[in-house]
Assembly symmetry: C2
């Protein structure tokens, strides 16, 4: 095995791209990453995507996108792990380079969700849940997260308003991200008055349905400086799984898939939560941020909301999260999200995060979650500067 | 990189499994493979599947199936490359072990197609074609293959009846395969009288819609003898791509994705077509067998049908194909097909193919094709006896 680096990044603005097809979005991100990497050599392409079949009637994205992006002939497949598809594709690309099966690998995440009516998108997303026990009973992902949040509030005596800082922080950071879907601030008062969706989850607890694509170019670390002034090393890339259905979990609020994934990543990197300068958390819902922070060792069980209330999640705080807006305010095009997180950590480690720059950021972590915690991919990145 | 071996195989009967869910089918194959491998150690699971979202309303198969199969927690994702999903998943599993990222890897292919009406399945399968130019125009995969067959017959002056030996051979071999969907013989006369589907493709040119799952256990070759009396080494595993749409191909009948995939595999293995004792070909339609045989160097361009007419594709012939019935008569549960091919080559190389045993088989090849040739995975296996 050899070390792997990221030498190019690309992303599209997140939003409602009614004028662009799925393959056009993916190609925009891919060509930007190739340009950034200053090389057009690509051995293979791994595409993270969840819903292209259900929402655009197109599977077989590997070959389709590689042809459209000018890479006809290369090895290419689609990787699916629900909302964790993006970082899962990165894990496969990482394996290819680390294991010396390829030298230059493109990894892209893409999703196009806004061409269809909302109820169809909600039903499509429910395919990430257990069909026999959850989706068949009419449970959407908002409902699943509402159950987790209800239980969390009951178990730890936490108020709903205690989750407000996660939405406020994400929106504050999105203001300076030109790729964000919602680049405007919200206040704790806005959160309080926000429309209820599934008690206690309100609109500002929730990430939006949207379109987007993000991509990176990987190569062996030893060659990285030839292609990038600020290469970033992948110190760890780890996947762990848990049950799809909540009722099958041994520890409902423990998010064991996230904990196992983080422990594997910490072990690979020889690092721990105390070494992270920032953490791109999977804030599909505010409760998911809190559970993820706790599972990864950034807070004790039941204490995750305090990180928000005490300002520790802001840039300049102990563990800055959602530094470019997160799923909440940058947006959550599901199969692309994991790759947006990676691109954003790279921006931070390169010192290219502009007004949102985490001072002296050298090591960053991203955690991408499929379903309500059934597939969890943890990636740890380090600046090679 | 290190050598990789197959130490366990498992498969379900192919057919209409109305009493089994997708995860049950996959688990049956997985547990059979684990039992065959005489180990229950599994580091990760890669699942090849194309249509679980569209036809069963369930994505996120990696975590779902690993939990149901008793492997909760392991790294697990779904790999999609249309009808090439099965062997594409094998390629990813091969990468993990070859690159030393995992030691024991399970690869499964699964598809459940018969719970839905035929027209819905036909539309779902068309998601493997180019949505903008083929599927949107109402072209099904039978129609796409009919265009290829028409052109082939025109270009090379071949009669439709010349394709009959491919169907006859597949059905003859399926008779002795307890897992085959259609274990009965057909004659050239049956072929002649067979119902037309899309001129010139008739019923006996075509593989059936069906359900099934197949799986293998991989481990480093150096450890393989501890778990299997007849381990099989993966000499090559290669993916290449081409355009989805026929009209974009540089050479319509050249099947360039298949040629490139085969050349990559031959190069990896240091072997050529003359070294193959059998070839599990992707006979979704008889024309696809002929194009694949030519692209892989088993016949000159325009001469593929002669291999059938001269008996060379039969067991005992120069290059036995579809030795357990192929897609035509064993069946073609699309995302599982590539794994059935691998399982069948392993049976041959172990000397466990019963009445269909290819004498002294030591090296076998399988080619799994997504779409009409847009993703092609070539695998070369060798007995370690």
């Amino acid at each position: 095995m050899r070390d792997v680096s990221i030498i190019g990044i690309g992303q599209t603005k997140v939003g409602e791209h009614w004028d662009k097809s799925l393959k056009e979005l993916a190609t925009d991100a891919i060509l930007a990453a190739i340009k950034d990497a200053q090389t057009d050599r690509v051995d293979s392409l791994y595409i993270g995507n969840m819903l292209s079949g259900e929402l655009t009637g197109q599977e077989h994205l590997g070959a389709l996108v590689s042809d459209f992006a000018g890479l006809r002939g290369v090895e290419a497949v689609k990787i699916e792990a629900a909302c964790g598809s993006g970082a899962a594709a990165l894990r496969i690309g990482y394996m290819a380079v680390a294991g010396e099966l390829a030298d230059f690998v493109l990894v892209a995440g893409v999703e196009k969700m806004t061409d269809k009516p909302g109820e169809q998108v909600t039903a499509a997303l429910a395919m990430a849940a257990d069909g026999d026990y959850e989706a068949q009973s009419g449970m959407s992902f908002v409902a699943i997260n509402a159950l987790l949040m209800q239980r969390y509030m009951y178990e730890y005596g936490v108020k709903h308003q205690d989750f407000a800082p996660f939405a406020v922080n994400a929106h504050r950071n999105a203001v300076n991200n030109p790729y964000a879907m919602f680049p405007f601030p919200v206040t704790a008062e806005d959160f309080k008055k926000s429309k209820m969706i599934a008690d206690p989850v309100n609109l500002l607890d929730s990430s939006p349905v949207c379109d987007g694509a993000a991509a990176v170019v990987l190569c062996p670390a030893e060659a990285a400086r030839r292609f990038s002034e600020h290469p970033v090393r992948i110190r760890a890339s780890a996947i762990a799984t848990d049950t799809l259905a909540l009722h099958d979990r041994r520890d409902l609020l423990g998010l064991q898939g996230a904990a196992l994934s983080a422990v594997k990543a910490y072990h690979q990197a020889g690092l721990g939560p105390q070494d992270m300068d920032l953490f791109e958390v999977h804030d599909a819902f505010t409760i998911m941020s809190v559970l993820s922070l706790e599972a990864c060792g950034f807070a004790e069980r039941g204490c995750g909301t305090r990180l928000g209330l005490e300002g520790e999640i802001a840039i300049g705080g102990r563990i800055p999260i959602t530094t470019m807006g997160g799923l909440k305010a940058r947006g959550h095009p599901v199969g692309a999200t994991g790759m947006y997180q990676i691109v954003e950590v790279v921006e931070q480690l390169r010192g290219q995060a502009g007004k949102n720059q985490v001072p002296d950021a050298r090591v960053g972590m991203a955690q991408n979650i499929g379903g309500s915690g059934a597939t969890v991919i943890t990636t740890i990145l380090e600046s090679m500067d």
